[in-house]
């Protein structure tokens, strides 16, 4: 693409947008084109997540949240830290960046009428994410629709936003037409309908929660004729046991009124994203060695936020209980009137 050549039909297995980013990166760093792109997406994600968390929880808890989410040891082994995603050129980075943007959007921009700048940024980021990972449209449409409805954006502006999202995808359709001579081909060996049948399977969801989230030791080789293949990698909760606390915080987001509606919507969409991938064929205990956790790394924002909220509310509750205890132990002043 950098030299003006179209991809081959085989290369269209991947959508064109991540390759476009690589082509842009070639101008900046020809020896390692994806490095500046990954760094830019990473920095933008850090800024969006921090600004949103600071508004929601204050500086100290925002730092706790960010440390749990993004600061890792530099070894991309398990992918339990979302930032490991950015150490390797994956197109999942674009989805993570989009969710970091949505997090910021739903925390900071939900109480006012969105400006044209915000709406156009929302449309192009969502459209580019759709262009990068086509299944992301399942989460992009409800998220954008929820934002437009909650902020009571006029239908004309909403129409412009959705048109721009679809416009972004016409680029892929155009390249599809030039390469495959049809706009309907996915470029993959399997059709869209066959790929979609590999998702939303309850049996896979149950298996993946056990193998990928709880413990990779649950993995069993389905081919019994061969000796079991070790998963080789830890599951999410084995690598990051502190995330066992996350469900409490996630529940508190829904229970406590002080957490805004935007956060509740963002949490629902993040949970749906994780359930979608966990109920699909792309994830399994064995695939942990191929960093399968990267598919749900966008959901790590909510999980780590849940962790920070659990600790924050826990300490708050502990403080109140201690104050009450001290008050009850403190000797009462004798009533002078009765003496």
């Amino acid at each position: 693409m950098h030299s003006g050549h179209l991809p081959t039909p085989g290369q269209l297995h991947f959508t064109i947008s991540y390759s476009i980013l690589g082509a842009i990166g070639l101008f900046i760093m020809p020896s390692d084109p994806f490095m500046p792109i990954a760094l830019a997406l990473f920095i933008a994600s850090v800024v969006f997540c921090f600004l949103a968390a600071r508004k929601l929880l204050g500086v100290i808890w925002a730092m706790v949240f960010m440390a749990a989410l993004l600061v890792w040891d530099g070894s991309a082994i398990t992918f339990n830290f979302a930032s490991e995603l950015f150490a390797i050129p994956w197109n999942n980075q674009v989805l993570f960046f989009t969710f970091a943007f949505y997090f910021w959007l739903f925390i900071t921009q939900i109480k006012k009428k969105p400006s044209w700048k915000i709406l156009i940024a929302l449309a192009f980021i969502s459209g580019y994410c759709f262009l990068t990972r086509q299944e992301a449209i399942l989460f992009i449409i409800p998220t954008v629709l929820a934002f437009l409805l909650v902020t009571k954006t006029s239908w004309k502006k909403s129409l412009v936003v959705f048109s721009l999202i679809l416009f972004c995808f016409t680029l892929q359709l155009f390249v599809n037409f030039l390469v495959n001579h049809t706009v309907f081909s996915s470029g993959r060996e399997e059709s869209y309908s066959k790929i979609s049948r590999g998702y939303l399977q309850p049996s896979l969801l149950k298996r993946n929660i056990k193998e990928v989230i709880i413990g990779s030791s649950f993995y069993q080789n389905p081919d019994t004729a061969k000796p079991p293949i070790a998963a080789d990698r830890q599951s999410l909760l084995q690598a990051a046991p502190w995330l066992w606390l996350a469900p409490i915080g996630v529940m508190l987001i829904f229970i406590l009124k002080r957490y805004p509606l935007g956060l509740k919507i963002f949490t629902i969409i993040s949970i749906l994203l994780m359930l979608f991938y966990l109920s699909g064929v792309n994830m399994s205990g064995q695939k942990l060695r191929y960093h399968t956790l990267r598919y749900i790394s966008s959901g790590f924002i909510v999980l780590n936020l849940g962790l920070a909220i659990t600790i924050k509310e826990g300490i708050g509750l502990g403080g109140v209980a201690t104050k009450k205890l001290i008050k009850s132990i403190k000797p009462q002043e004798p009533d002078k009137g009765t003496l």
Partner: protein, 73 residues
């Protein structure tokens, strides 16, 4: 091609710097006020940590799979 883009970028930055000199001076004067430093220092610290770990992960982590578009699924 890339050197041309960099040259044009530097030239453009110089023009902007000259044109907005007064505005930049005012911006610099207000940026280092105590409350601004207090507000943005955590983000700066976070970015330094994050970029440091990113650079280490990208260039020095030998345990990760090889880089390349083949891994970009």
């Amino acid at each position: 091609m890339s050197s041309f883009i960099i040259t044009m970028g530097v030239l453009h930055a110089n023009i902007v710097l000259v044109m907005k000199q007064e505005k930049l001076k005012r911006l610099l004067a207000t940026s280092f006020k105590k409350e601004n430093v207090k507000r943005w220092l955590p983000l700066v610290v976070l970015l330094v940590l994050a970029i440091g770990s990113f650079i280490y992960g990208w260039y020095f982590d030998m345990s990760k799979p090889h880089s390349g578009i083949g891994w970009a699924d």
